[in-house]
Assembly symmetry: C2
Homo-oligomer: 197 residues x 2
């Protein structure tokens, strides 16, 4: 006698997104997800191969959302503004979804990581923008510089690693401004003009 399905992959992933925010990656267990969708842990194995696939599906779901955000962050008018807008979008997503954010970038086994395709798609608007600033030859390196910085800044922020006081928001604004200048091949920086700013 067939039994009607009591849950679905979609529900499971949604539950996973919720749990990773409240209890972190370690709290995202087969049992906690099962409990939230109203089944027992072994039943989840009907829909996924194990916890690593659960992590991967949740990471993919979050990566898709972040990618959508990034794809609508740049309007193509002012490259420096677009760069700042992309960085802010990144940070806003991390603040709104710290659990999912750390899941996307956590050093996990390959079968628990978000699909490579998302990384490629999410990179596109960033590379488009850095190409306008640094030129085709340096677009990829410049994109890596900006993403590494944004990612590192946010990771340290979320981990509470900024322990020396000071204004963290201002440090973020300072960073993206300086990076914009740094990778902008067309920019001419006059030391005297900015020294007292």
């Amino acid at each position: 006698m067939p039994t009607p399905a009591r849950t679905s992959l979609e529900q499971i992933v949604k539950a996973g997104r919720d749990i990773v925010e409240t209890d972190g990656i370690d709290g995202l267990t087969m049992q906690s997800v099962a409990a939230r969708v109203g089944v027992r842990a072994p039943s989840l194995y009907k829909r996924l191969h194990g916890r690593n696939e659960l992590l991967r599906l949740v990471a993919n779901d979050a990566a898709a959302e972040l990618t959508r955000d990034l794809e609508s962050a740049a309007d193509g008018k002012d490259a420096r503004r677009d760069l700042a807008s992309l960085a802010s979008t990144f940070r806003r997503f991390a603040h709104a979804n710290p659990g999912a954010y750390s899941l996307i970038f956590a050093p996990l086994p390959d079968d628990a990581r978000a699909d490579a395709g998302w990384s490629v798609r999410a990179s596109a608007p960033v590379i488009d923008t850095t190409e306008r600033l640094a030129g085709t030859d340096h677009a990829l390196e410049a994109a890596r510089t900006v993403v590494a910085w944004a990612n590192g800044f946010i990771a340290m922020e979320l981990a509470g690693a900024f322990r020396l006081g000071g204004d963290v928001d201002r440090a973020f604004d300072y960073g993206i401004d300086r990076l914009g200048v740094a990778i902008d091949t067309g920019a001419v920086t006059h030391a005297r003009a900015t020294r007292r700013s």
Copy 2:
């Protein structure tokens, strides 16, 4: 009848350093450390309060080593060279001790984190150098920009997040060069001179 000690905190921390490199943070368990020092897991509670303290002691040990490395990386002659040297030291430590590195910067509970004192000491040579480049007013923000970038770059590198090909070493060199220019208030960048380099 007193029983002679069969291990020591020092031995335990050393074992922890070894295990975190071979098996990662998740592999750094009370049982794996106990087995390596030749006792049973409950015996470790004679010397530390639990796993979080074990993680903290191992993180402190690694942070002390990284701090020593950083303190001898800058010679005070050329600030831009010192900045590059500090970044390379950072990256070299991470490549040689990926497990310890990820432990130091992992988002863990407060009682499992390295002592704040190490973060302050390790920051000093970086802030000294950024102060020479960006001036007193922006030294801290500039240091945060550089550390966030280095940290983010290395984290993405260790996590295998650079999936778009290209030369990762070159991207690191590009990044530190551009950051040096970016925070160097005294630098005058002539677009035409660098555009074809």
